[in-house]
Symmetry: C2
């Protein structure tokens, strides 16, 4: 058979193998400690081999980010489609958002790694778009003006993201239980935001400030 040798990726799929091993390594030591050199070592190739497939370390991380968004989106879709009511669907987005952060920490970390200049990798933005659209379409289904929808979408996204960060930061403890606690909190925060959403769009300048 054409089963490739797992120990030595000298068979032409180094690119995919690099992305795969990068995810593993990031899981083990975090993005910051990820190095092309170690990835190469694990794959049994020399340190310069990756440069045939990626411009450099950052480009590989960008590819990892794109992959992460794809997996992220798949998770969100799977979860959202279990519900029909718009509010529940939106809460499901928030829930799966946090779950993804908890169950794929390396990938989630890679998504927001300050070390990758996203503006130089437009494919990252393209990979993110379906996710944003999922948010938006759920929010739109709730009705209300365009401005109100936008405000709610931003608030929910921020809430989901915030819970995800708190989770990854350990504020909810460790393990699978912590993930569910955080995910459930995010879902409920979403429902609370929907409930109080009129307050998101009021005043236009009159909520106090400088």
């Amino acid at each position: 058979m054409s089963r490739p040798s797992k120990s030595r990726y000298h068979h032409g799929d180094l690119r995919a193998a690099l992305i795969e091993i990068a995810v593993e390594l990031i899981d083990e030591r975090g993005v910051r400690h990820f190095s092309l050199a170690e990835a190469s070592r694990r794959l049994g190739v020399t340190v310069s081999a990756p440069y045939s497939h990626f411009a450099g370390r950052e480009a590989l991380l960008a590819a990892v980010t794109v992959r992460a968004y794809e997996l992220f989106y798949a998770d969100v879709v799977r979860e959202v489609d279990r519900f029909r009511k718009p509010a529940d669907r939106l809460a499901a987005v928030a829930r799966s958002y946090v779950r993804f952060a908890g169950t794929h920490r390396a990938l989630f970390e890679a998504l927001f790694d300050p070390g990758v200049d996203k503006s130089r990798y437009p494919e990252i933005d393209a990979a993110k778009r379906p996710l944003d659209d999922a948010f938006t379409s759920c929010v739109d289904a709730l009705g209300g003006s365009e401005a109100a929808s936008k405000n709610l979408a931003v608030a929910v996204e921020a809430a989901a993201h915030g819970h995800a960060i708190l989770l990854v930061d350990g504020d909810f403890g460790d393990g699978a239980e912590a993930v569910e606690v955080a995910a459930e909190r995010a879902a409920r925060a979403t429902l609370a935001l929907i409930e109080g959403r009129d307050l998101l769009t009021r005043g236009r300048g009159r909520t106090r400030s400088t």
Copy 2:
């Protein structure tokens, strides 16, 4: 002579100078590109000099983080004390949280740098505590059960953090205006969460708070 040379930091305050220059460098190139070597070069000392004051790069970054929390807390307190009503005070915490992220990006970035293992630097947690307490005391002033307060505190913190990340990520645009937009959104989201807070504490499904 006991007169220290100001230009070379050979005067015994290298520790403070390192923290200061670290903040500058992180502002210029981001945490990832910060190096002890360059900090040393800028201060006119050799690369090994910092090791008299810090165990290594990570320890210096930890010190920067502590400093960041101190400044962060000072900002929050200043802003919160301009209000009296509990809801407004809580919204002010969220607002100043986001403002800090926008106006001190380097420090904010350092606060959540995945490269520093916070569990190995307990002083970071200690520096963070006053900030958490500020959140908590504002929430408690709103009344409600202990569990409900906890739930609201977490939700507001997550919302504030989420808006801050979206801001730093450029989702609100650039410049001072973007900062205010994000800060105001966070404040309003806080008010919306207060409004819908009953939904945060329902079902008893998996929400275990401590």
